[in-house]
Protein backbone atom coordinates (compact mmCIF):
# COMPACT_ATOMS: atom_id res chain seq x y z
CA UNK A 1 0.00 0.00 0.00
CA UNK A 2 2.52 2.53 1.19
CA UNK A 3 5.15 1.15 -1.18
CA UNK A 4 2.90 2.03 -4.11
CA UNK A 5 2.49 5.56 -2.79
CA UNK A 6 6.24 5.96 -2.46
CA UNK A 7 7.59 4.12 -5.48
CA UNK A 8 10.64 6.30 -5.90
CA UNK A 9 12.24 5.53 -2.54
CA UNK A 10 14.63 2.59 -2.58
CA UNK A 11 14.30 -0.10 0.13
CA UNK A 12 17.73 0.74 1.50
CA UNK A 13 16.78 4.38 2.01
CA UNK A 14 13.49 3.33 3.60
CA UNK A 15 15.29 1.01 6.00
CA UNK A 16 17.87 3.64 6.92
CA UNK A 17 15.12 6.18 7.48
CA UNK A 18 13.16 3.70 9.55
CA UNK A 19 16.16 2.94 11.75
CA UNK A 20 16.91 6.63 12.27
CA UNK A 21 13.29 7.38 13.06
CA UNK A 22 13.17 4.44 15.49
CA UNK A 23 16.20 5.73 17.35
CA UNK A 24 14.85 9.29 17.52
CA UNK A 25 11.40 8.12 18.57
CA UNK A 26 12.66 5.83 21.33
CA UNK A 27 15.00 8.51 22.63
CA UNK A 28 12.15 11.02 22.86
CA UNK A 29 9.78 8.48 24.39
CA UNK A 30 12.06 7.07 27.07
CA UNK A 31 11.83 8.81 30.44
CA UNK A 32 14.41 11.57 30.41
CA UNK A 33 13.84 13.43 33.65
CA UNK A 34 12.25 16.36 31.82
CA UNK A 35 9.78 18.74 33.37
CA UNK A 36 6.08 18.15 32.86
CA UNK A 37 5.40 20.26 29.76
CA UNK A 38 8.66 19.33 28.03
CA UNK A 39 8.00 15.67 28.76
CA UNK A 40 4.53 15.84 27.19
CA UNK A 41 5.91 17.57 24.08
CA UNK A 42 8.71 15.02 23.78
CA UNK A 43 6.25 12.15 24.07
CA UNK A 44 3.94 13.54 21.40
CA UNK A 45 6.88 14.09 19.08
CA UNK A 46 8.18 10.62 19.90
CA UNK A 47 4.93 8.91 19.00
CA UNK A 48 4.68 10.91 15.77
CA UNK A 49 8.20 9.93 14.71
CA UNK A 50 7.41 6.37 15.82
CA UNK A 51 4.47 6.29 13.40
CA UNK A 52 6.86 7.38 10.62
CA UNK A 53 9.26 4.59 11.60
CA UNK A 54 6.44 2.02 11.61
CA UNK A 55 5.26 3.22 8.20
CA UNK A 56 8.73 2.79 6.74
CA UNK A 57 8.99 -0.71 8.20
CA UNK A 58 5.58 -1.59 6.77
CA UNK A 59 6.74 -0.23 3.40
CA UNK A 60 9.86 -2.40 3.45
CA UNK A 61 7.79 -5.42 4.48
CA UNK A 62 6.60 -8.06 2.06
CA UNK A 63 3.11 -8.21 0.59
CA UNK A 64 1.20 -11.34 1.52
CA UNK A 65 -0.91 -11.31 -1.63
CA UNK A 66 -4.22 -11.91 0.10
CA UNK A 67 -5.78 -8.64 1.27
CA UNK A 68 -7.68 -10.21 4.17
CA UNK A 69 -4.67 -12.09 5.47
CA UNK A 70 -2.55 -8.99 5.12
CA UNK A 71 -5.06 -6.85 7.03
CA UNK A 72 -5.28 -9.37 9.87
CA UNK A 73 -1.51 -9.77 10.10
CA UNK A 74 -0.95 -6.01 9.98
CA UNK A 75 -3.51 -5.44 12.74
CA UNK A 76 -2.12 -7.99 15.17
CA UNK A 77 1.49 -7.06 14.39
CA UNK A 78 0.77 -3.36 14.97
CA UNK A 79 -0.97 -4.17 18.26
CA UNK A 80 2.04 -6.21 19.35
CA UNK A 81 4.67 -3.68 18.31
CA UNK A 82 2.92 -0.53 19.55
CA UNK A 83 2.01 -2.13 22.88
CA UNK A 84 5.57 -3.42 23.19
CA UNK A 85 6.91 0.09 22.66
CA UNK A 86 4.45 1.44 25.21
CA UNK A 87 5.62 -1.23 27.69
CA UNK A 88 9.19 -0.06 27.32
CA UNK A 89 8.49 3.66 27.62
CA UNK A 90 5.70 3.77 30.22
CA UNK A 91 6.70 5.80 33.25
CA UNK A 92 4.45 3.93 35.62
CA UNK A 93 5.18 0.21 36.09
CA UNK A 94 1.43 -0.39 36.42
CA UNK A 95 0.85 0.92 32.91
CA UNK A 96 3.87 -1.04 31.68
CA UNK A 97 2.30 -4.27 32.96
CA UNK A 98 -1.04 -3.46 31.31
CA UNK A 99 0.64 -2.61 28.00
CA UNK A 100 2.63 -5.83 28.20
CA UNK A 101 -0.62 -7.79 28.51
CA UNK A 102 -1.83 -6.01 25.38
CA UNK A 103 1.44 -6.84 23.60
CA UNK A 104 0.87 -10.50 24.54
CA UNK A 105 -2.55 -10.38 22.91
CA UNK A 106 -0.92 -9.06 19.73
CA UNK A 107 1.86 -11.66 19.83
CA UNK A 108 -0.62 -14.47 20.25
CA UNK A 109 -2.48 -13.13 17.21
CA UNK A 110 0.76 -13.16 15.21
CA UNK A 111 1.43 -16.73 16.33
CA UNK A 112 -2.08 -17.73 15.25
CA UNK A 113 -1.60 -16.18 11.81
CA UNK A 114 1.75 -17.95 11.48
CA UNK A 115 0.08 -21.30 12.17
CA UNK A 116 0.90 -21.78 15.83
CA UNK A 117 -2.62 -22.52 17.01
CA UNK A 118 -1.65 -24.17 20.27
CA UNK A 119 1.06 -21.65 21.04
CA UNK A 120 -1.22 -18.68 20.43
CA UNK A 121 -3.65 -19.95 23.04
CA UNK A 122 -0.91 -21.16 25.40
CA UNK A 123 0.74 -17.73 25.38
CA UNK A 124 -2.49 -16.13 26.55
CA UNK A 125 -3.21 -18.80 29.16
CA UNK A 126 0.31 -19.00 30.62
CA UNK A 127 1.15 -15.32 30.51
CA UNK A 128 -2.24 -14.16 31.74
CA UNK A 129 -1.45 -15.82 35.06
CA UNK A 130 2.11 -14.49 35.02
CA UNK A 131 0.90 -10.97 34.31
CA UNK A 132 -1.65 -11.19 37.08
CA UNK A 133 1.14 -12.07 39.53
CA UNK A 134 3.27 -9.25 38.11
CA UNK A 135 0.37 -6.89 38.57
CA UNK A 136 -0.01 -7.86 42.22
CA UNK A 137 3.72 -7.29 42.70
CA UNK A 138 3.49 -3.86 41.13
CA UNK A 139 0.54 -2.89 43.29
CA UNK A 140 2.34 -4.20 46.36
CA UNK A 141 5.70 -2.56 45.75
CA UNK A 142 5.15 0.45 43.53
CA UNK A 143 5.08 3.92 44.99
CA UNK A 144 1.49 4.71 45.85
CA UNK A 145 1.91 8.49 45.59
CA UNK A 146 3.11 9.59 42.19
CA UNK A 147 6.12 8.39 40.26
CA UNK A 148 9.38 7.36 41.85
CA UNK A 149 12.42 9.36 40.72
CA UNK A 150 13.98 6.27 39.15
CA UNK A 151 10.88 5.83 36.96
CA UNK A 152 11.38 9.30 35.53
CA UNK A 153 14.97 8.89 34.34
CA UNK A 154 16.72 6.34 32.13
CA UNK A 155 20.25 5.05 31.90
CA UNK A 156 21.68 6.75 28.80
CA UNK A 157 18.41 6.93 26.81
CA UNK A 158 20.11 8.17 23.62
CA UNK A 159 22.74 5.43 23.53
CA UNK A 160 20.18 2.75 24.38
CA UNK A 161 17.80 3.93 21.65
CA UNK A 162 20.59 4.06 19.07
CA UNK A 163 21.84 0.60 20.08
CA UNK A 164 18.35 -0.88 19.78
CA UNK A 165 17.72 0.80 16.44
CA UNK A 166 21.06 -0.39 15.03
CA UNK A 167 20.30 -3.93 16.19
CA UNK A 168 16.90 -3.69 14.52
CA UNK A 169 18.50 -2.37 11.33
CA UNK A 170 21.01 -5.23 11.19
CA UNK A 171 18.29 -7.82 11.81
CA UNK A 172 16.00 -6.28 9.16
CA UNK A 173 18.86 -6.11 6.69
CA UNK A 174 19.70 -9.78 7.17
CA UNK A 175 16.01 -10.72 6.91
CA UNK A 176 15.77 -8.68 3.71
CA UNK A 177 18.77 -10.49 2.26
CA UNK A 178 16.92 -13.81 2.58
CA UNK A 179 14.87 -12.86 -0.47
CA UNK A 180 17.67 -11.19 -2.39
CA UNK A 181 19.96 -14.19 -2.74
CA UNK A 182 20.32 -17.68 -1.37
CA UNK A 183 22.63 -17.82 1.64
CA UNK A 184 26.33 -18.36 1.01
CA UNK A 185 26.16 -21.90 2.37
CA UNK A 186 24.04 -23.04 -0.58
CA UNK A 187 26.34 -21.60 -3.23
CA UNK A 188 29.49 -23.31 -2.09
CA UNK A 189 29.27 -26.57 -3.94
CA UNK A 190 27.09 -29.21 -5.43
CA UNK A 191 27.16 -31.52 -2.43
CA UNK A 192 25.82 -29.00 0.02
CA UNK A 193 23.14 -27.90 -2.43
CA UNK A 194 22.16 -31.47 -3.17
CA UNK A 195 22.05 -32.24 0.54
CA UNK A 196 19.83 -29.23 1.11
CA UNK A 197 17.54 -30.21 -1.71
CA UNK A 198 17.21 -33.77 -0.41
CA UNK A 199 16.60 -32.89 3.21
CA UNK A 200 13.00 -32.64 4.36
CA UNK A 201 13.74 -29.11 5.60
CA UNK A 202 13.91 -27.91 2.03
CA UNK A 203 10.30 -28.73 1.24
CA UNK A 204 8.40 -25.84 -0.26
CA UNK A 205 6.97 -23.70 2.48
CA UNK A 206 3.47 -23.82 1.05
CA UNK A 207 3.10 -27.58 1.49
CA UNK A 208 4.64 -27.38 4.94
CA UNK A 209 2.23 -24.62 5.95
CA UNK A 210 -0.77 -26.67 4.90
CA UNK A 211 0.57 -29.62 6.84
CA UNK A 212 1.02 -27.47 9.92
CA UNK A 213 -2.52 -26.10 9.67
CA UNK A 214 -4.07 -29.59 9.70
CA UNK A 215 -6.97 -30.07 12.07
CA UNK A 216 -5.06 -32.46 14.34
CA UNK A 217 -2.50 -29.76 15.03
CA UNK A 218 -2.36 -30.17 18.80
CA UNK A 219 -2.16 -33.97 18.59
CA UNK A 220 0.75 -33.74 16.19
CA UNK A 221 2.51 -31.18 18.37
CA UNK A 222 2.00 -33.41 21.41
CA UNK A 223 3.33 -36.41 19.51
CA UNK A 224 6.44 -34.47 18.53
CA UNK A 225 6.91 -33.08 22.03
CA UNK A 226 6.54 -36.37 23.88
CA UNK A 227 8.17 -38.47 21.19
CA UNK A 228 11.26 -36.87 19.78
CA UNK A 229 11.77 -34.41 22.65
CA UNK A 230 10.77 -36.57 25.61
CA UNK A 231 14.14 -36.22 27.32
CA UNK A 232 13.97 -32.44 27.02
CA UNK A 233 10.53 -32.48 28.63
CA UNK A 234 11.96 -34.40 31.57
CA UNK A 235 14.81 -31.90 31.87
CA UNK A 236 12.33 -29.03 31.76
CA UNK A 237 10.44 -30.63 34.62
CA UNK A 238 13.64 -30.83 36.66
CA UNK A 239 14.35 -27.21 35.82
CA UNK A 240 10.93 -26.16 37.11
CA UNK A 241 11.54 -28.08 40.33
CA UNK A 242 14.96 -26.51 40.78
CA UNK A 243 13.56 -23.02 40.22
CA UNK A 244 10.80 -23.69 42.75
CA UNK A 245 13.20 -24.97 45.42
CA UNK A 246 15.68 -22.21 44.66
CA UNK A 247 13.17 -19.41 45.01
CA UNK A 248 11.82 -20.85 48.26
CA UNK A 249 15.37 -21.15 49.60
CA UNK A 250 16.17 -17.55 48.70
CA UNK A 251 12.98 -16.28 50.32
CA UNK A 252 13.43 -18.20 53.57
CA UNK A 253 17.11 -17.31 53.85
CA UNK A 254 16.31 -13.67 53.23
CA UNK A 255 13.66 -13.76 55.94
CA UNK A 256 16.15 -15.30 58.39
CA UNK A 257 18.70 -12.60 57.51
CA UNK A 258 16.15 -9.88 58.09
CA UNK A 259 15.21 -11.38 61.46
CA UNK A 260 18.81 -11.59 62.62
CA UNK A 261 19.42 -8.02 61.46
CA UNK A 262 16.37 -6.86 63.40
CA UNK A 263 17.58 -8.76 66.49
CA UNK A 264 21.01 -7.13 66.19
CA UNK A 265 19.40 -3.71 65.93
CA UNK A 266 17.23 -4.43 68.98
CA UNK A 267 20.28 -5.31 71.11
CA UNK A 268 21.54 -2.30 73.11
Amino acid sequence: MIASILPSISPGTLLAGGVTATAASLWLLLPGGRSGAADRTARWLGWLIGIVALASFIATGHRLGNVGEEAVFLTVALVAVISGAATVVSRSPVYAAIWFAMALAGVSGVLLVLGGQFLGVATIVVYAGAILVMFLFVLMLAQPAGLAPYDRVSNEPLLAAVAGAVLLGILSLSIGRLTAEPPACCLMGGTKAALLADSPAAEPAAAAGIDMLADNHVARLGGELFGRHLLAVEVAGVLLLVALIGSIAIVSRGAADAESAAARRAMP
Binding site: T87, A96, A97, M134, L141, S154, A205, M212, R220
Partner: protein, 154 residues
Amino acid sequence: MNPLADVVTPSPLVLDGLVVGAILFALGVVGILARRNLIVMFLCAELMLQGISVSLVSWSRHHGDWGGHVLVIFVLTVAACEAAVALVFVLQAFARTGRLDSAAWQSLRESNLSRTIDHELPAIDTVPLKFPKLSPAGVEPAADEDAALEREHV
Protein backbone atom coordinates in the same frame (compact mmCIF):
# COMPACT_ATOMS: atom_id res chain seq x y z
CA MET B 1 18.50 -17.06 -11.32
CA ASN B 2 19.69 -19.66 -8.91
CA PRO B 3 17.61 -22.82 -9.09
CA LEU B 4 17.70 -23.04 -5.31
CA ALA B 5 16.16 -19.62 -4.93
CA ASP B 6 12.57 -20.85 -4.95
CA VAL B 7 13.46 -23.55 -2.45
CA VAL B 8 15.21 -21.54 0.23
CA THR B 9 13.44 -18.19 -0.07
CA PRO B 10 10.96 -17.90 2.79
CA SER B 11 7.39 -16.93 2.03
CA PRO B 12 6.35 -13.28 2.62
CA LEU B 13 4.40 -14.26 5.73
CA VAL B 14 7.50 -15.87 7.24
CA LEU B 15 9.60 -12.80 6.43
CA ASP B 16 7.04 -10.45 7.97
CA GLY B 17 6.88 -12.64 11.08
CA LEU B 18 10.66 -12.45 11.36
CA VAL B 19 10.52 -8.65 11.11
CA VAL B 20 7.89 -8.48 13.87
CA GLY B 21 10.03 -10.74 16.05
CA ALA B 22 13.08 -8.56 15.40
CA ILE B 23 11.19 -5.38 16.33
CA LEU B 24 9.91 -6.90 19.59
CA PHE B 25 13.39 -8.15 20.48
CA ALA B 26 14.99 -4.76 19.78
CA LEU B 27 12.35 -2.98 21.89
CA GLY B 28 13.10 -5.35 24.75
CA VAL B 29 16.82 -4.67 24.41
CA VAL B 30 16.22 -0.92 24.61
CA GLY B 31 14.09 -1.37 27.71
CA ILE B 32 16.65 -3.56 29.44
CA LEU B 33 19.43 -1.08 28.68
CA ALA B 34 17.60 2.11 29.55
CA ARG B 35 14.99 1.51 32.23
CA ARG B 36 15.88 1.48 35.91
CA ASN B 37 12.79 -0.04 37.47
CA LEU B 38 13.45 -3.73 38.17
CA ILE B 39 9.89 -4.78 37.35
CA VAL B 40 9.91 -2.92 34.03
CA MET B 41 13.29 -4.47 33.18
CA PHE B 42 11.77 -7.86 33.87
CA LEU B 43 8.84 -7.08 31.56
CA CYS B 44 11.31 -6.06 28.86
CA ALA B 45 13.11 -9.40 29.18
CA GLU B 46 9.75 -11.12 28.66
CA LEU B 47 9.20 -8.92 25.59
CA MET B 48 12.50 -10.18 24.15
CA LEU B 49 11.36 -13.77 24.76
CA GLN B 50 8.13 -13.00 22.89
CA GLY B 51 10.12 -11.70 19.93
CA ILE B 52 12.17 -14.90 19.91
CA SER B 53 8.99 -16.98 20.04
CA VAL B 54 7.57 -15.22 16.98
CA SER B 55 10.82 -15.80 15.08
CA LEU B 56 10.91 -19.47 16.05
CA VAL B 57 7.35 -20.07 14.90
CA SER B 58 8.12 -18.27 11.63
CA TRP B 59 11.10 -20.53 10.94
CA SER B 60 9.03 -23.53 11.96
CA ARG B 61 6.50 -22.61 9.32
CA HIS B 62 9.23 -22.09 6.74
CA HIS B 63 10.82 -25.47 7.34
CA GLY B 64 7.58 -27.34 7.90
CA ASP B 65 9.12 -28.69 11.08
CA TRP B 66 7.70 -28.83 14.60
CA GLY B 67 11.04 -27.98 16.18
CA GLY B 68 10.26 -24.28 16.47
CA HIS B 69 6.93 -24.92 18.17
CA VAL B 70 8.51 -27.34 20.63
CA LEU B 71 11.27 -24.82 21.34
CA VAL B 72 8.67 -22.13 22.07
CA ILE B 73 7.05 -24.44 24.62
CA PHE B 74 10.44 -24.75 26.32
CA VAL B 75 10.82 -20.97 26.14
CA LEU B 76 7.53 -20.69 28.05
CA THR B 77 8.82 -23.18 30.64
CA VAL B 78 12.12 -21.38 31.13
CA ALA B 79 10.27 -18.05 31.29
CA ALA B 80 8.16 -19.42 34.14
CA CYS B 81 11.28 -20.50 36.05
CA GLU B 82 12.92 -17.18 35.33
CA ALA B 83 9.83 -15.32 36.55
CA ALA B 84 9.83 -17.24 39.83
CA VAL B 85 13.51 -16.62 40.57
CA ALA B 86 13.54 -13.03 39.29
CA LEU B 87 10.50 -12.03 41.32
CA VAL B 88 12.09 -13.48 44.45
CA PHE B 89 15.20 -11.44 43.74
CA VAL B 90 13.11 -8.33 43.19
CA LEU B 91 11.31 -8.92 46.48
CA GLN B 92 14.59 -9.36 48.34
CA ALA B 93 16.08 -6.28 46.70
CA PHE B 94 13.02 -4.27 47.64
CA ALA B 95 13.12 -5.56 51.22
CA ARG B 96 16.75 -4.47 51.59
CA THR B 97 16.70 -1.07 49.90
CA GLY B 98 13.04 -0.07 49.86
CA ARG B 99 13.35 0.79 46.18
CA LEU B 100 12.82 -0.98 42.88
CA ASP B 101 15.82 0.87 41.51
CA SER B 102 18.59 -0.99 39.74
CA ALA B 103 20.97 1.86 40.63
CA ALA B 104 20.46 1.04 44.29
CA TRP B 105 22.81 -1.89 43.64
CA GLN B 106 25.47 0.10 41.83
CA SER B 107 28.09 -0.83 44.42
CA LEU B 108 28.24 -4.11 42.48
CA ARG B 109 29.42 -2.34 39.30
CA GLU B 110 32.83 -2.71 37.72
CA SER B 111 35.52 -0.57 39.32
CA ASN B 112 36.21 1.37 36.11
CA LEU B 113 32.60 2.50 35.67
CA SER B 114 31.46 5.86 36.88
CA ARG B 115 28.88 6.22 39.55
CA THR B 116 25.22 6.89 38.70
CA ILE B 117 24.34 10.19 40.29
CA ASP B 118 20.74 11.26 40.59
CA HIS B 119 20.20 14.93 40.03
CA GLU B 120 17.23 16.81 41.36
CA LEU B 121 14.40 16.29 38.89
CA PRO B 122 12.17 19.11 37.73
CA ALA B 123 8.75 19.03 39.28
CA ILE B 124 5.93 17.46 37.30
CA ASP B 125 2.55 19.11 37.42
CA THR B 126 0.33 16.37 38.76
CA VAL B 127 -2.98 16.36 36.98
CA PRO B 128 -5.75 15.29 39.36
CA LEU B 129 -7.29 12.06 38.17
CA LYS B 130 -10.90 12.21 37.06
CA PHE B 131 -12.87 9.07 37.74
CA PRO B 132 -16.29 8.48 36.19
CA LYS B 133 -19.21 8.73 38.53
CA LEU B 134 -22.52 6.95 38.29
CA SER B 135 -25.44 9.29 38.23
CA PRO B 136 -27.86 8.58 41.07
CA ALA B 137 -30.89 6.64 39.87
CA GLY B 138 -34.21 6.24 41.67
CA VAL B 139 -35.01 7.15 45.23
CA GLU B 140 -32.62 6.40 48.04
CA PRO B 141 -34.19 3.65 50.14
CA ALA B 142 -34.97 4.59 53.72
CA ALA B 143 -32.75 2.53 56.01
CA ASP B 144 -34.51 0.96 58.96
CA GLU B 145 -31.86 1.16 61.67
CA ASP B 146 -33.65 -1.10 64.13
CA ALA B 147 -34.00 -3.81 61.54
CA ALA B 148 -30.31 -3.43 60.66
CA LEU B 149 -29.31 -3.91 64.32
CA GLU B 150 -31.44 -7.01 64.71
CA ARG B 151 -29.93 -8.68 61.70
CA GLU B 152 -27.81 -11.68 62.63
CA HIS B 153 -25.50 -11.59 59.64
CA VAL B 154 -24.20 -8.64 57.84
